[in-house]
């Protein structure tokens, strides 16, 4: 790249420093440093600097016998397993509808995408008031049309509580995934469809043998983004169910939050954070390995 026609000052250390310094300063201070400091904190007890004491592996040993940790981890994995396929399938469905030539396709696209720009507090609030017994929309509509005879307590049963969280999340994030998938759909050459219809392929065959394989790269990306997003679940249960009933909808991030900012146990909360990070990196690596082998 450094031809003679480019001034040597262009490739100087000084120039690189000037351009990189502002970003790297903040990145170093607010990402790299806490990444290492969090690791150190995970071997200590204490309340954010007060009464900090080195305890070796005690936090890690505690974690592996902490039933709340396993509970929160299982809840998070449960949500990843439930929400990812639903969001990808619905995202794809809405992408195909929005990308079709039918009238109203653009309307579906806008209607599906709009919730994504609303803040998490708004979407959780709207859905809480939809599901809320007695004053909420859903129960009363179901009662008025005679489908149920008494109020369903959506937030008193863990499966129902997960349903409310999942529905709100789907409604909020399908649009985001739909947009990425639409971009993927539009990259598929039209000639593929034309050639296949000459060969007598029907719509379903076209979808299965042209659309899906052509989208595999984008789908891989969407699934990974979704898995990562689901691992970070916090706001929806925090605002909708409070993690309840009991701890049945408490995910990892909420357990970290409560350990750190309710119990003020910064050491143990760091240990839990590291575990979450570790699991996410491992899952992403396994995922990349698996999807790579498939491509070969």
């Amino acid at each position: 790249m450094s031809t003679n026609r480019i001034k040597s000052s262009y490739n100087s250390w000084k120039a690189a420093f000037v351009f990189l310094f502002p970003f790297m300063l903040l990145y170093g201070f607010f990402t790299i440093y806490p990444l290492f400091n969090g690791f150190i904190m995970s071997f200590h007890t204490g309340r954010f600097g007060i009464g900090e004491e080195f305890v070796g592996l005690a936090n890690y040993i505690k974690m592996f016998s902490d039933k709340h940790f396993y509970g929160a981890l299982l809840n998070t994995l449960f949500f990843v397993a439930i929400s990812t396929p639903l969001i990808v399938v619905f995202g794809l469905l809405f992408a195909v509808i929005s990308n079709s030539r039918f009238k109203g396709a653009n309307f579906v696209k806008i209607a599906t995408f709009l919730p994504y720009v609303l803040s998490i507090s708004v979407i959780t609030s709207v859905w809480v008031y939809i599901f809320k017994p007695h004053i909420g929309l859903l129960n009363n509509v179901l009662m008025n049309i005679g489908l149920i005879s008494e109020q369903i307590m959506w937030f008193d049963n863990s499966l129902f509580a997960w349903t409310t969280i999942t529905v709100a999340t789907l409604w909020w994030t399908i649009g985001f995934n739909m947009i990425i998938l639409i971009a993927g759909l539009q990259d598929i050459p039209h000639s593929l469809y034309e050639a296949s219809s000459i060969d007598g392929a029907n719509r379903l065959q076209q979808f299965l043998f042209i659309t899906l394989p052509s989208l595999s790269g984008v789908l891989k990306m969407v699934i990974l983004l979704q898995v990562i997003a689901s691992f970070k679940l916090f706001g929806q249960p925090w605002l909708m169910t409070g993690g309840g009933p009991g701890n049945s909808t408490t995910p990892m991030v909420q357990y970290i939050y409560e350990t750190g900012f309710r119990d003020w146990n910064s050491g143990y909360a760091s240990t839990l954070s590291y575990m979450l990070l570790f699991i996410m990196v491992i899952v992403a690596m396994i995922y990349n390995r698996l999807t790579k082998e498939k491509e070969v």
């Binding site: 790249m1 990145y27 209607a111 708004v122 609030s125 970290i256």
Partner: protein, 274 residues
């Protein structure tokens, strides 16, 4: 034959519109409920359409809460974070794309690794920094930790890599400085990418929840996302006031969405590039 095709088309179109309306339903419900008299039953058709409309809820919220302040906070933080964040990312990406220097691969790797580190896994040590600096309940504490965004650097770098090197050579022969090359060539050429990314980051920041929940605990430093649930928890039997607050908080986002729909779509599509 043509008739059955026509009927099919009408049915499919109706079905599509029905799907779109279903997705919109929660927003429409929020919209109508906001304009209803306090404690109206908004779960029946009669309650929603057969009773009078009013803007009293909006007046009450503006008078009794700090909602303008919260809106300002959300706006201010999202604007600064997206603008400054974009600037930092653009500068860093320029160095990684154009300048040859020792250790470039390492720097790039360190930034790339940041993509894998969610803020959720860093909140504990990050919060400790903010305590040590005594930045709890300050704009500094709310804004600065979120400024360096690896994803923005990667997206910019990908775009900068596609800009023809002849432009740099030409500028060099004209005696221009490297700073001029960034400012007068790369920055203007990346206008579309910049605006798409800007809107995307604005929405992300506008929707941030966990960090402002920790740092902006004083009611005058709360963002809308943090303050809304607190405000709404004071109403136990009424739906109209919470919905009014929701609508109030959504209007700026919806306006941004309607004006910048194309940029938002482009911004999201870019995050899918790999």
């Amino acid at each position: 034959m043509t008739n059955t095709i026509k009927v099919k088309k009408v049915v499919v179109t109706l079905l599509i519109i029905l799907i779109g309306l279903t997705m919109l339903l929660p927003i429409l419900w929020m919209l109508i409920a906001s304009f209803k008299v306090y404690e109206t039953d908004v779960t029946t058709l009669h309650g929603l359409f057969g009773t009078s409309f009013t803007v009293d809820n909006f007046k009450k919220i503006v008078e009794t809460s700090k909602i303008w302040r919260w809106t300002f906070n959300s706006f201010f933080i999202a604007t600064v974070q997206s603008l400054v964040g974009i600037l930092l990312a653009s500068l860093a990406a320029f160095a990684l794309s154009v300048i040859d220097f020792k250790g470039k691969k390492l720097v790039y790797f360190i930034i790339l690794a940041g993509l894998m580190i969610p803020v959720e896994a860093l909140v504990i040590p990050l919060f400790k920094i903010i305590i040590d600096l005594q930045w709890v309940n300050t704009y500094k504490g709310l804004i600065l930790p979120g400024l360096a965004m690896p994803l923005a650097v990667i997206i910019f770098k990908q775009f900068y890599d596609s800009i023809p090197r002849e432009l740099i050579e030409a500028a060099s022969m004209d005696g221009a400085s490297i700073y001029w090359v960034w400012y007068k060539i790369f920055l203007p050429l990346s206008g579309n990418t910049t605006s798409a990314l800007l809107i995307f980051l604005f929405i992300q920041s506008w929707n941030n929840f966990l960090w402002p929940l920790l740092i902006g605990t004083d009611s005058s430093l709360m963002t809308l996302t943090v303050a809304l649930p607190v405000f709404q928890s004071t109403f136990s039997t009424d739906v109209t006031m919470p919905m009014t607050a929701n609508l109030f908080a959504s209007v700026p986002a919806i306006i941004v969405f309607l004006i910048f729909q194309k940029q938002i779509v482009k911004g999201i599509a870019m995050t899918g590039i790999k």
